[in-house]
């Protein structure tokens, strides 16, 4: 499999962010949570590379540390929906019949909900916080994965190698895990890459509506939301986390595109 240049670009970007996240303590110039009454809204300077925010915290250090939370939210936020969605989708697609009927009815009920509003309501029920955001995503976000996995499983179910495995007398769980799953993964993984971007964005949007991560966490979305009222007087507060968000989003999206190309499913 030849690495597509797009994938390499994207993967490099994501890798760089991962490195930044890992090495945050080394890269940061300030304590990302340390307030400084002497440096409120300081513009970018030698001391504060990206300026400082409304409580004097160093924006650069917060952007650096924010990468940890962004990756955490992005990755964890898609893993649970993916696992749930894959499981339901594969079972529904592979077995068909009443399993499929039930799964599809649940899906039918989830789909017409406006996605964002449902996440919002669930967060309202569970209370704010990243964990609850993950739960909300898991409860809502599985739908996309389930659809993809189901579509793949329906095709794979009647493919000759799955039939062959059945005529070898293998059990259904074994076939599902060993033969169907690996071959159903590609579109799901590609979708996941876009989903990571969306999950980070949705997290930010929740922050905008005041239901995101609690302060003083260095979360880009919350930083952007907080910095909004300073857009004319201290643009750097929201600009740099915004830029970071775009860069990581671009990384994942390019990775997804590249992956799609490599796996020849071009989406």
């Amino acid at each position: 499999m030849k690495l597509s240049p797009m994938f390499v670009c994207g993967a490099t970007l994501v890798a760089v962010w991962s490195l930044i996240a890992l090495a945050a303590p080394l890269l940061a110039t300030h304590d990302p949570y340390a307030i400084d009454f002497e440096a409120l809204l300081a513009p970018p300077s030698a001391d504060h590379w990206f300026g400082s925010d409304n409580v004097g915290r160093d924006t650069y250090s917060r952007v650096i540390y924010g990468s940890r939370l962004a990756l955490y939210i992005g990755l964890l936020g898609v893993i649970a929906p993916m696992i749930i969605g894959m499981t339901i989708g594969l079972l529904a697609g592979y077995f068909g019949g009443w399993v499929d009927t039930i799964a599809m009815r649940v899906l039918d009920i989830t789909v017409p909900f406006p996605f964002f509003v449902l996440v919002l309501s669930i967060v309202a029920v569970l209370g704010p916080g990243i964990e609850n955001y993950f739960i909300a995503l898991a409860l809502v976000g599985w739908v996309g994965y389930a659809r993809l996995a189901r579509a793949e499983a329906i095709v794979l179910r009647s493919s000759e190698f799955v039939l062959a495995a059945r005529t070898m007398g293998f059990s259904h769980p074994y076939i599902l895990f060993r033969h169907v799953l690996p071959n159903a993964m590609s579109p799901v993984v590609v979708y996941m890459m876009t989903d990571v971007t969306l999950v980070i964005l949705f997290g930010a949007a929740l922050g905008f509506l005041g239901m995101g991560v609690s302060p003083p966490a260095a979360e880009w979305g919350v930083m952007i939301a907080e910095g909004q009222i300073y857009i004319s007087s201290a643009w750097w507060i929201s600009f740099f986390p915004g830029l970071a968000m775009v860069l990581i989003g671009v990384g994942f999206a390019l990775m997804g595109d590249g992956l799609a190309k490599m796996l020849r499913i071009e989406r």
């Binding site: 493919s159 000759e160 039939l163 005529t167 070898m168 007398g169 293998f170």
Partner: protein, 534 residues
Amino acid sequence: MNPLLSVRNLFVRFGETLAVDDVSFDLPKGGALGIVGESGSGKSVTCRALMKLLPTTALAKGEINFDGQDILGASEATLNTLRGKRIAMIFQSPASHLDPLMRIGDQVAETLRKHTDLKGRAIHQEVLRLLDVVRIPEPERWAQAYPHQLSGGMKQRAMIAGALACKPDLLLADEPTTALDATVQKSVLDLLVDLRKSQGLSMIFVSHDLGAVARVCEDVIVMRKSRVVETGKTREVIDAPQHEYTQMLIASHPDRLTLHTPQPVPQATPLIEARGMQIRYGGGGLIDILTKRAGGFLAVKGADFTVQPGETLGIVGESGSGKSTMARALVGLVKPAAGEILFEGAPAKPLGRNRAAYLRDVQLVYQHPYEALSPRMRIRDAIAEPLRRHKLCPAQEVPARVADLMAQVDLDPTLGDRLPAQLSGGQCQRVAIARALAMDPRVLIADEVTSALDVTLQAQVMDLLIRLQKERGLTMIFISHDLAVIRRLCNSVIVMRRGEIVEAGPTGQVFDDPAQEYTRTLIDAIPRLEAAHP
């Protein structure tokens, strides 16, 4: 007289790969030239180059002269005045070459609209005439139909109608009969032969089947690995092939293969027996249950047959006849609606609790070599899988057994680490067979295992099966739409049509003296090398 088409030193290159390597030929007006070769030999690329219908990645060099017009050097605009009007083309799989969203009539009319001044009513009349020419019954009705509503043969006729619309001087036919059933294949070939006469067509006919080419063309060129290996009059090439490869090609043709008639071990109880087997697809929906109807579609309408140990039973029939469905019922992939299957005289339950034990004795090998293996599993693991899962041998012996199985099917042991996509079709089919053999079955059901392979590979796989049967005393059920293959391998045969067994008996008897008209049509439709133009 100048030839209608003259090709000189044609090269086509895709990146590093040379797809057509120095091909030259002439086609006189009114002539028919066949291009024969196996997959990847460059025959189709050559054919498409004649219309400069190549992907943008292709680089074509050389000279193609059509009636004084240089094709390779022509502009796209010039080419578009030739394509469809003076040179027309028909393709292999009519299903994918017709736009699924457009009515048949409109697709035929497209050429007319583009290249003639006909309008409205006149176009409609002309479309109906063309459909009639290609012997589509009720043209009025089918012109309104969409491609998916037509049978494969009808689709191909519709495509031919489109190609003939502007009375082209040259018809390029790129494997036009390959995906069709034998009887349909024959009728399409007959149509082409007729059209040549009635319309004065010149034709280039590309096929992997020398028999089909022999029926249509007086001249033939044989291609292999992008190069022309032999050229000549069809008759002469068939009768006295010069090149080694051509010789092999001809020798591999089912027509020329030596018959193999294994003798069944006489025994009181047949190894496998089917009694009144009925198989239904669909149905069982809520409405069906409520109305106490069976619903769905009956794919097999009650089949009885027996297979003696050591026997090879052939099941033959056209697509949709229910032959594969029956095979799948034997290994429990579909559940018969009625009837029973006996194994060694005892009721077998391919779907029951002991299915693993039953399946150890009865194995199925599938049609499409690449699809029958998980694309993400190395072939060594694929072969080892049944051994490991069913603990058929101690774990430490698995590698040795795998090597042994690979040797049995003539697979190079170094291929073990490859993925299916890195193998050829023939190799994949061997892997599939080795995998089935790993179970050490007593019955091997081969479902169209040779159909997707080139003739030479087809012959090799058949040889392999014959050898295995001899060595292991296998009982085989061999399913194919290809009567020639069945005749070679089987000692008894069942002919199926629309879910019913219409004829059954010893191979020799069925082939030499068929009791049913249908069987006779099938036998007549076998492309034969002998049928070549004199």
